[in-house]
Structure formats: C-alpha cells, structure tokens
Amino acid sequence: MKIVVLRENLVFGLSVVERAVGVGSNLPILKNVLFSAHEGIISLTATNLEIAVTHNISGKVLENGEITCPFQILNAAIKNVAAERIALEQVGKKLAVSTDNYDAQIQTQDPKEYPLIPSVQTSAPTVSLDAASLTHALSSVIVATQYTDIRPEISGVLFRFHEEGLTLVATDSFRLAEFRLVNKGVVGGGIDAIVPLRAAEEVLRIIQTEESGSLVEITLEPNQVLFKTSRTRLISRLIDGRFPEYHAIIPKEVKHEAVIAREEFARAVRATSSFAGRASDVTLTVSENKKFLELSSSDAALGEGRSRVPIKIKGEKFSAAFNWRYFLDGLKIYQGPYVKLGMNAPDRPVVISDPDAAYLTYVVMPIKT
C-alpha cells in the first residue's frame, strides 16, 4: 500500500474512528487501525467488536493494499508532525510514515488477522434522515440514559420506526425523554431497535461533524444496525430485549401547569443546587400568591439556599422535590425562551415541555421526601 494524504484529513479520520478502537481486550489486534486503499478510496477502520467504524478519507492512492498498525502509536506520531502532506507506505512488514522532515517506521500486523466487519444485506429495511434533525433528536434524548448492567434494555436509545416517522426514546428509570421525528423520509414501520448508549454517542459524534443538508442512512437487521453518512459507516450490535412500555409513564393530562422563563429557571436551579444534600434534591414550591416558584434546598452540613422565579400558573399550587441534575437536563434540551411544567400529584411524574417544541417530551420523577 502506498498513499499520500493531507495531514488534516488523516487527523480527522483518526479522530472519527478513535473511540471504536478496542481497549484491554483479549485480542491485541483490536487496538489497531486498519488502512485500506483500493481504487482511489482510502478507508480507516477500527472496531472493538461492539461497534465498528469505517471512515473514508480523501487522498491519493499510489498503490492498492491493506495494512494495520497500533492506533495509539500512529495517532501520536501523526498528531505531532507539522507537515501538510503525509505519505504512508508499506515497506516489508512496516508502515513507513514520512513527511518533509519526519520519518517513522511502525510495526504492523497481518491485515488478514484483523476482524472482518459484518456485512449488511442490501435488502434490509433502510431509512434516510436529515443529519441535522437526527443530531437534534439524538442529543436531546441521550441525556436521559446511563450505562447500566442491571437493566441492559434501558442502557441505550430506542429507535422506534412507525407509520408517522421515527421516535427516539431514552430513560434511566428516573427520567425519560422522547423525541418524535415526523415524516422525515421514514418508510414502513413497526420496528423497534435499541441502540447501545456507547454506539449512540458515537453516532452523535460522527453526524455532528456532517455538513448541513447531508443525509444519514439507517439500516436495520435483526441483531445489528448500520449508520451510514457520506464518508462514515458505523455498525453496532443492538441491545437484545424489550424496551419498557414507556407510554404508561408519560401523564396523559396534567392538573396544574406553570410557564417559566427557561434560562432564568435553569440558573435558579443551579444556584440552589449548591446546597443540595446527598439525594441531590431541590424542592420546588409555588408561592402563596401564585406568582413565584420558590426553589429551596438545604443540607445540615452545608447550609441552605433559596431562589425565586416568576411563573404563570394554571391550576392549583403544588410542591415537589427533584434530583436537580435530572431536572436541569430537562431544561437544557430545550431551546425556546419558555418551558412548561405539568404536574399532577407530588409523587407522580412531572412533564417538562416547550409549547414551541411539541415533538420533545421530558418526564422526570420527583423524589419522595
């Protein structure tokens, strides 16, 4: 193999595949990155056997071939050279990296030893989405999930394809976020796929760098999913299991509603949270005259803090305590100037919504006090 690439492109390509490189695995070759150059296309591949990322970079192919070498070594070398153009060439069993003022020879392994990236059947159902919409949707719901070994079925993001479009849902059983993408090139329906959190994070990282207007193709197979952009392919296993019937959790209607300025509210939550104790609880109470929402938290060892934000309320006064982190996450995913709190009883889930963003719903459980 012999190629010449711009350093910038190579650095970017390496950063795309970086997080798919295996760590601490039984198979040392998973720590490698695989270069392949064929017919003018140069691709980098990394896999940890959970996900696999392949990224095409532009460059000049002088000789076809494949080569694999340890990712960290190559990355460190490339990152620190100053030259604009880098030539990579296979010399015997080594990879020669050369620029105008830098030469390195990296030990390689037989590319035949590198894991084969699973193929995806062309007949499998495929949908195309606008990258910007998917970025928006995924980044909104992903905050609501966490890694857990105890309940694998919720340690990922649910992609539910249905007649009207695609719905993304994530939960960690204390809060839940749902984003409905309507009619955005989705065909067919009735398919659920739970994408592992790590893969979802990677997808997000990759599509964030896509130019506006570009498309993402999602191909589903029974055990795996492929996300494909113009230059990058990410294959991940799917989580095996059934996502909880989350509709039961989202309250159908709410008794009390309060409209609050979002930024101000978020600031008040942060200011009060400094005094939250071990349960991270901040209490929200509607003031006597129904004109303010009072946030308070106290801890015997730290002290106590209160803040007040003006609200418009429909319905009765209410009071409930929340884990402030979960609450703040719910405020951060919206972009509009106002949010609406929908409340039923102090021990029932609370809906945080934005009247201008009806496609997004965030539900958080109060803490029992």
């Binding site: 039984n26 896999t47 699973p118 095996d240 299991g241 459980m365």
Partner: protein, 458 residues
C-alpha cells in the same frame, strides 16, 4: 453424544489449533444449537455478528473438520447469532404495563447485603462516609485519599500504624472499598489479615502449592494487609511476603499495610522488609481527642437510631479515652441498659459500665515486675529507679514506671511514691499526669509505653 458434549469436545480440539486470544474472543461463548441428523447440518450459535463473520470466513474448515472427526454424519455447518431473547420466556412476561413503579423507588433502593465480598475480601460495612476524621487521624485519612486518587503512584507502600481499636481496620477496608468501587478504573483489590496470609503460606508449603499463593497475591492492583506485625519472626512467610511485596512494588501496584506500631518497632521484622516499609509513607493514627470521641458517639447513636441524653454521651466521651472500640462497646451497653431498664440512667451506673468494659486484665503482674521491665527497657539498674538518685537519665524511666504502676495496677499514689525511692505522693501524681498528658502529644513515648506493656504481659 448430546450436542453439548459434542461441542465441548470439538472446542477442545479447536483450542489446540488456534491461539488463546483468538479462541477466547471468537469461540468462548459459542454453542451447538442443533444437529439436523437427516440433512447433516450443525447449527452453531455465536455471541455477535463480528464472531459470526469471522468464524464463518476463517474457522469454517477447522470447525467442520473437528466436528466430522467426532460425528461423521455432519456434512455442513451453519452459523447464527444467539439472541438473549431465546432464554427469556418469550413475550408473555411483558403483558403487564410496567406503570411508573420502577421510577418511584429512588428512596427505597435496597441496601446491598453487608457480606464480605468474595473477590476483594472486603467488608462493605466499612466506608469512608462513616469514618470520622479528627486531628488524630486526619493525616492518615489524607494519605488514603491521595492513594485513592492515584492508586500505586503516590505513597507506595502506605503504612498505617496506631494502637488497638483506633480505626486502622476501618480505614484500611474503607480505602479498599473506595478503590474497588472507584468509577472508571477497574482495580482489583485484595484485603487480607496477616494471619490469613500466614495460614495460606503454611498451607501452601504443606501442600507444595506455592504457585497458588504467588498467583493469588501478585495478580492484584491493590494489596491490603492488616496487622502486619504478626508476620515478624515467621521466616518463610516473611520471605514470601518480601517477594510478593517486591513483585507488586515493581509494577507500581499499591500496597497498604497496617500495624500496631511503626516498622522500626517491630522487633522480629527482617531488616530488608523494614527498610521497604520505611520507603513509602508512614502515618500514625493517634488517640482521638474529646471532640472526636463525642462525634463518634453521636454518629453511632444516630446510625443505631437511638436516643440518648447528650450529657451521657459527654460523660462517656470524657471517660473512655484510649480506644474507639471500647467507646462503642460502652455505648452499646448503655443503649442496651436504657432500652431494657427504661427510664434514665444516672452517671453512676454509666461509670460502672465503663469500668466493667475497660478494665485491663492484670494477670499476675505485680509492681516489681513493672519496675524491672521498665529498668530493662531503658537499660538502667533497678536500684537506680528505687533509690533517691536524681540523675537525669533515670528521671523519665522512673516517671514511666510510676505511670504504669498507676495505670496498670491502680496502686495508690503514696504507695507508688514509697516504692520508687520513698518519694512524696505528689511526685507520683505529677509523674502520672505528666506522662498521661504527653501520651497524646508524643507518639514516640506512646510507642515506648506500648512496648513496655507488651513485655510486662509476656
């Protein structure tokens, strides 16, 4: 042969032909799902698509060959990805809507059972949250914090020492627990008392299984050994420990050791081990001061959910000074009494409990034993202690002797004065109070007293 046995035998054969990492990565969680006798097709289940892709392309011939060696009715092999769903009893279980129930339980998370963890050997009951930090142990606490933050890099080995019942084991185990549960890092922690270590070595020597010991103790990231002073004088154990220590230290694995005295004061410890201990960080845990004792009592009563008069706690904290375990013992007893007797307890009753709990067993020790031991310890003639000599080098030994006579034997001050050179009882009182005060401030003196007491009781 049933499919399970057949597959086991096949894997046994394949294992010899491919490298171990490859075997583990690709075939470890595989199984033979079915064997279709009529068509001669074996269906092999693999954990994920990567394995399926790899095995189908690279190991197909190998697997087919091995299977045919054992069962030549098989003509072909097919591969599928095993989905966990096969094990879950289909979809019946989901019929009930999950409602909001999993969401409401944040406050009811069951407390994990407090059993000793079989892998780390740590008791989860000991946590840093329940460790009360005061002036006497803040250095030790800070050192363990530094160790938790950078395991193996700072303060290696960490050597904690302090008297009986001052919280060494608590701090040690809590540190271990903190490291083991540290998010992100996967540190293998192993806690062992030196007695267990000795027993293991003895067992290994007898059964010629030294390899087991080496494996168990060297294949860890953090080794915690409690009460190391007991390995002094046990040559093989010391040697084994020495090797283990070196092996771990070379690979910058963290070692945490506790003892009831500093390395220099463990008389039977080999020189090379001593110097290694001294190469790390040595911190002592001293006697708790009054405020800290009170804080411990308060925390303990709160933990037990009991109510006790503040005055009683004050009193206990003031009276029980040298040992946290005794402090807790007295508290437990007082709580028990107050619950079963009902009504309030008077200070007198509490004094009784305290003296019952903390009484030192003075087995067959008499005054001349103590004086003799002190004299030997300081290498001065006994007569110098018992005459009216006022040489400077005998002043401290004599005061220590007075202190011990009072502390251990509870002799009267006039009697003590009489015994040690016909002195006035005020001299004895002064000596006792001076030493008693110096104890909390001067660890070296404290150490001396402990060593002397040990010799007295031997």
């Amino acid at each position: 042969m049933n499919p399970k046995e057949l597959w086991k035998a096949t894997l046994g054969e394949i294992e010899l032909q491919i490298s171990k990492p490859n075997f583990i990565t690709w075939l470890k969680n595989s199984e033979l799902i079915e064997r279709n006798e009529r068509e001669g097709v074996a269906l092999v289940g693999l954990p994920n698509n990567f394995a399926k892709e790899w095995v189908r392309n690279r190991y197909h011939k190998l697997i087919l060959g091995s299977l045919r060696n054992l069962d030549n009715s098989i003509r072909n092999v097919d591969y599928v990805v095993i989905t966990g769903a096969r094990e879950v009893p289909a979809r019946v279980a989901v019929s009930k809507p999950i409602a909001a129930s999993p969401l409401t339980d944040e406050h009811k998370l069951p407390i994990s059972e407090l059993k000793v963890d079989p892998i780390t050997n740590l008791n989860p009951r000991y946590t840093l949250d329940t460790f009360i930090v005061g002036s006497s142990n803040e250095l030790a606490y800070a050192a363990t914090q530094a160790v938790i933050a950078s395991v193996g890099k700072k303060y290696n080995p960490l050597f904690l020492y302090g008297g009986v019942g001052l919280g060494k084991t608590h701090l040690l185990q809590a540190t271990g627990n903190a490291i083991a549960s540290h998010a992100g890092a996967r540190n293998r922690v192993f806690y062992v008392s030196s007695e267990k270590f000795i027993n293991d070595v003895v067992w290994a020597v007898r059964n010629k299984r030294m390899e087991d010991i080496k494996k168990r103790y060297r294949d860890v990231d953090v080794l915690i050994i409690d009460d190391i002073q007991f390995i002094g004088g046990k040559t093989t154990t010391e040697l084994e420990f020495f090797y283990t220590f070196n092996a771990l230290h070379e690979h910058s694995k963290q070692i945490i050791i506790s003892s009831d005295r500093p390395p220099a004061a463990i008389p039977t410890l080999e020189e090379r081990l001593r110097s290694r201990f001294e190469g790390g960080m040595i911190v002592d845990i001293g006697y708790p001061d009054y405020e800290m004792r009170l804080a411990i009592l308060r925390a303990k009563t709160q933990e037990l959910g009991a109510l006790l008069d503040g005055k009683i706690l004050d009193h206990i904290a003031a009276k029980v000074q040298k040992n946290i375990r005794e402090l807790e013992g007295v508290l437990n007893k007082v709580l028990f009494l107050s619950q079963h007797r009902g009504g309030s307890l008077d200070i007198k009753k509490i004094d009784e409990v305290i003296s019952e709990t903390t009484r030192v067993s003075s087995k067959n020790v008499n005054a001349s034993d103590i004086v003799k031991t002190v004299a030997e310890f300081f290498e001065v003639p006994v007569s110098d202690l018992t005459n009216r000599c006022r040489k400077q080098e005998v002043v401290e030994p004599r005061q220590i002797a007075m202190f011990l006579l009072r502390d251990v034997l509870k002799l009267s001050y006039p009697h003590i004065g009489e015994k040690l050179g016909k002195r006035d009882h005020t001299t004895a009182i002064h000596a006792y109070e001076k030493i008693n005060k110096a104890l909390s401030q001067n660890p070296a003196l404290n150490q001396k007293i402990i060593l002397i007491k040990e010799r007295v009781y031997k």
